[in-house]
């Protein structure tokens, strides 16, 4: 049991920090531009694919830097030539645009890289078990992922709290309508924020690709979870995004680790059920089975009972 | 004369800032009542509190003697209070005609019915056309409201507000941003359509205020410092000290 708990904590941390890399960018974009970017996870996927292609020529490490930069440029271009154009039609149109973009990017990725899973793997130097506990390996690459995520977190925190740009962004997050009054070039700021947010997602893709697989469906698998994270954390709250990322990371890993089922609960209450009953699927439902839908239940509950999210101040 | 609207100890805080600091005011049934005051005094906030857009921090609001504190805007509207907005607030993609017709639907008890067609209801359509006639937009009725000129949108705003035939009408700066001749037209319009009803209005144009209002309240920094007939208010020393000095600057800001 201790073994399960320790490894679940570690695994949840890896997932949670990865989610934070995605949700931090999405939160920045939403806070400043009011756009919920459906295609955010698509930039994550682009990051993985770019890094894969780069790694086939010059290896993993250059890709770690170049791929996020490329994704950032792609994001900035999308903002400049796509989103800005749609902006005047309102937020619903923007949401529809990013939805279409997500659809399109998946097709484009399949066009260039094909449909099969790409053999994008961790560099040799990180392919060893960092430590072994109760006979279980903890891969060094996972530790590397934690390291990068924490580094990004610290970097982001420093930039936001110390630098001038950071202060402008913070002001814009808390008072979204004032940013234009600050005398800054708003379109340029928007383009920059969108680019940086996309680059963060791209970086997440670069480091997640070898661990979670690089395939055309990788954006779809993660896409809506990231939405859940930022809504649950509270739209516009970076701290909330951080808390919610870890919460959902652990929620999912522990739900899988713990074999509780409705059946056990009923047994505890001394109730038995008919194995042929129409609701038999409900009675045998177990926690690992429902693990992936727990975030969505959480999302709906939050939206109904606390629309500002755990730590947000703005209603969605 | 009975009271159409009563405010008792109404307060509103935004965070630590107190915007409305305990207002007691009684609007008599059938009177035309203007609320004046410098910018930032809390006039629009007071309107939002009465009409249900904001929830108040403390106090009670009575409409025709009935407590409407904490009700939603639509519930207050159904009890007979209708308001306009300082910043034009219409249905931009609907036609001018439809804007007014939407203002009529609830009052004419159509509610959310989905078994009647709006185009077959003669009384509904005729009344909408009458109102359009009254506000002078009859020949613009097929245009999307969003493309109307500013003054026309203001008139439409009033049209929507009065359409439902509410007892109490609240107009928030109905003449703001209008030329002199446009203002005259609006004043005549207001006088005409609020005949026999209770009118509460916020207005900066003192000419309009003293022309239209039966009584005037002066709101300064979230408090009513004087209420009375135009003559009384004009004569009030407190008003002169606290407000009339400031009105010039306010007037400059507006224009």
């Amino acid at each position: 049991m201790t073994e399960l708990v320790i490894f679940s904590l570690l695994n949840g941390l890896v997932t949670g920090l990865l989610l934070f890399m995605l949700s931090s960018g999405l939160t920045l974009i939403f806070s400043m531009m009011g756009v919920l970017n459906f295609a955010h996870a698509s930039f994550y996927m682009l990051g993985a694919y770019f890094a894969y292609t780069i790694s086939t020529y010059v290896g993993f490490w250059p890709g770690l830097v170049i791929a996020p930069l490329l994704v950032g440029v792609a994001g900035a271009l999308v903002e400049r030539y796509g989103l800005r154009h749609v902006h005047r039609h309102g937020h619903v149109a923007e949401l529809i645009f990013t939805f279409g973009l997500a659809f399109l990017i998946e097709e484009i990725v399949q066009f260039f890289w094909g449909k099969a899973t790409k053999d994008y793997s961790a560099p040799e130097i990180l392919q060893f078990p960092l430590f072994t506990l109760y006979g279980q390996n903890f891969p060094a690459y996972k530790a590397f992922m934690i390291l990068i995520s924490v580094g990004i977190f610290i970097g982001l925190f420093t930039v936001l709290s110390r630098s001038r740009v950071g202060l402008i962004i913070q002001a814009a997050i808390t008072h979204p309508h004032t940013v234009s009054n600050l005398g800054h070039n708003v379109p340029l700021v928007f383009m920059g924020v969108f680019g940086v947010g996309s680059a963060l997602a791209g970086l997440a893709g670069v480091i997640a690709g070898p661990a979670l697989g690089t395939f055309p469906g990788m954006a779809f698998v993660l896409g809506s979870i990231v939405f859940v994270v930022i809504v649950v954390g509270g739209l516009g709250s970076l701290a909330g995004a951080f808390v919610a990322s870890l919460l959902i990371g652990w929620l999912q890993t522990f739900a899988i680790a713990l074999d509780w089922s409705v059946n056990d609960l009923l047994a505890l209450l001394g109730v038995s059920f008919d194995a042929d009953h129409a609701l038999r699927d409900l009675w045998t439902l177990s926690l690992p089975q429902v693990a992936p839908i727990l975030p969505y239940i959480l999302l709906i509950l939050i939206l109904i009972f606390r629309p500002t999210g755990l730590m947000g101040k703005r209603e969605t | 004369m009975s009271a159409a609207l009563q405010m008792q100890g109404v307060r509103k805080n935004f965070g630590p800032t107190e915007i409305i600091r305990g207002i007691d005011l009684e609007i008599r049934s059938g009177e035309r009542h203007a609320i004046i005051g410098p910018n930032g005094a809390g006039k629009s906030t007071l309107f939002h509190l009465v009409s249900g857009k904001y929830s108040k921090t403390a106090g009670r609001i009575l409409l025709n003697g009935e407590d409407v504190t904490g009700l939603e805007p639509y519930q207050i509207n159904r009890k007979g209070l209708s308001r306009s907005f300082q910043i034009t607030n219409i249905f931009p993609r609907l036609s001018v005609f439809e804007n007014v017709r939407c203002g009529l639907l609830w009052a004419m008890e159509y509610r959310n019915s989905f078994w009647r067609l709006v185009d077959t209801e003669r009384e509904l359509n005729e009344r909408a056309a009458q109102i359009l006639d009254e506000i002078g937009l009859l020949d613009r009725c097929d245009l999307p409201a969003g493309v109307l000129a500013y003054a026309e949108q203001r008139a439409l705003e009033i049209g929507i507000t009065i359409a439902g035939g509410a007892e109490v009408i609240m107009l928030d700066e109905p003449t703001a941003g209008m030329s002199h001749s446009e203002t005259e037209g609006v004043v005549a319009l207001i006088r005409r359509v609020t005949e026999g009803r209770t009118l509460v209005m916020v207005e900066h144009d003192m000419g309009v205020v003293f022309d239209l209002a039966d009584r005037i309240s002066v709101l300064v920094y979230g408090e009513i410092i004087a209420t009375g007939t135009p003559e009384e208010v004009r004569a009030s020393r407190a008003v002169q000290e606290a407000y009339l000095g400031a009105v010039d600057s306010a007037g400059q800001e507006v224009n």
């Binding site: 279980q136 979670l212 469906g217 979870i225 089975q289 | -």
Partner: protein
């Protein structure tokens, strides 16, 4: 045997050429291939299509076709792995006068098709259709949901599990088994069969985990691997396929598990290449048609295939059985009338290119054939997978697996006339 057959064919070709020179060119026999050719599963669909086209070309058309010179033509119809789209494509095939439909990917689609074809044949007796299922392994298709028009050329999930549990049963050191699969009918069928058969064959084995995970939704299998490792399992059984197979396998191995992982679909289509050295001696697959060591005939076929499609493998040898047996049945029936061809297929015995026999069991139209347990390795690999140097080496063969397995199928047979 092969030689005599070839001479016979040559003779037929000569005759056929002589005939068709005089007669009008014979219509090709069209076979509708309804499988995903776009979307996430297109890779699998395309690889199947290439095998079918290659099989039709080499096994039938190059030998002069059937019924005196009628060629096989594969008509690819993209179903996007959607039951709805499959039914539209079925209608398209029927409009084109096609009598034979092949499909393999997804039991859900197979079920929709077999259901629709049964209804269609009942409602339109003059335009019937046969359904040759080359890959969908849900046991129900040849049990409760069986019908006369459906023939399955792959071993079904129960038969494979029977072979698989035989293999586990022989390894007395295995005392703890973990079962994990995708949360849908096939994953559940695999789990149920595993539990039932292990209890029969090795009551001493403890099932330390029986888990279903959502299909296609798990982004990280590490938590499952953690659990499997913690349970002390000495063998893992999974019916996972596609990305779920790769993710699960990699996570389990990375967590430090080195006990065998028994899979249904743990090879080919990029999976072998992805496992590479990591899966050496760990990943095992249960399947028909062994690959290593191959028969000389199969080696020759594979070389020819590779020459044409260097990036693909013959990973579903049963496709070649499907085409060869259909051709044989049409010849035997002397007509393309689906009812007569179906009767000719029932009970047919066929010697495969891979070695061994296939028998189309009449009671449920389930092909009975040898099933093999093979291991992922790079030693003694003649025919590799994904050009990776790794491939499947045979460990154990269960001859004519499931020959006497029970079936609940009760088929209504039409009049042969």
């Amino acid at each position: 045997m092969a030689v005599t057959r070839r001479t016979a064919f040559a003779a037929t070709i000569g005759l056929a050429l002589a005939w068709s020179a005089g007669a009008e060119a014979a219509d090709p026999i069209k076979i509708a291939f309804i499988d995903p050719l776009s979307g996430p599963f297109a890779t699998t669909g395309e690889s199947g299509l290439r095998s079918f086209e290659f099989a039709a070309e080499t096994l039938v058309n190059a030998k002069g076709g059937v019924l005196d010179g009628r060629m096989f033509e594969i008509v690819p119809l993209d179903n996007k792995i959607s039951p709805k789209e499959s039914l539209i494509q079925l209608k398209r095939a029927i409009s084109d006068g096609i009598n034979y439909v092949v499909q393999g990917n997804s039991s859900g689609v197979a079920n929709a098709l077999t259901d629709a074809i049964e209804k269609h044949n009942k409602r339109n007796p003059d335009q019937r259709v046969l359904f040759l299922n080359y890959s969908a392994v849900d046991p129900a298709l040849t049990n409760d949901k069986c019908n006369f028009w459906h023939f399955r050329f792959d071993a079904n999930a129960d038969i494979k599990m029977d072979a698989l549990t035989d293999a586990i049963g022989e390894r007395s050191e295995i005392k703890k088994v973990y079962i994990i699969g995708q949360d849908y009918s096939f994953g559940k069928a695999v789990a149920a069969a595993a539990v039932r058969m292990l209890a029969e064959k090795r009551p001493d084995i403890e099932i330390v985990g029986n888990e279903l995970h959502p299909i296609g939704k798990v982004k990280d299998f590490t938590p499952y691997a953690t659990k499997i490792k913690a349970s002390g399992a000495q063998a893992v059984i999974t019916g996972n396929w596609g990305a779920d197979m790769v993710g699960l396998g990699k996570a389990i191995i990375e967590a430090g598990v080195d006990s065998p992982i028994y899979t249904y679909y743990g090879a080919h289509d990029g999976i072998t290449a992805t496992f590479g050295p990591l899966g050496e001696g760990i990943i095992r697959s249960v399947r028909e048609g062994t690959l290593n060591p191959p028969t000389p005939e199969f080696k020759a076929l594979d070389d020819a295939f590779k020459a044409k499609y260097p990036d693909n493998d013959i990973n579903q040898p049963r496709i070649f059985n499907t085409i060869a047996m259909l051709a044989k049945a049409i010849e035997a029936a002397g007509t393309t009338d689906p009812v007569k061809v179906a009767y000719a297929l029932e009970g047919m015995e066929y010697d495969t290119i891979m070695g061994g026999k296939v028998w189309m069991r009449p009671s449920d139209h389930q092909a009975i054939q040898d099933v093999h347990i093979s291991v992922h390795t790079n030693k003694n690999i003649v025919v590799d997978a994904d050009n990776s140097g790794y491939g499947l080496a045979n460990e154990k063969t269960v001859p004519m697996a499931g020959k006497d397995s029970p079936t609940s199928c009760q088929m209504e047979r039409p009049n042969a006339a």
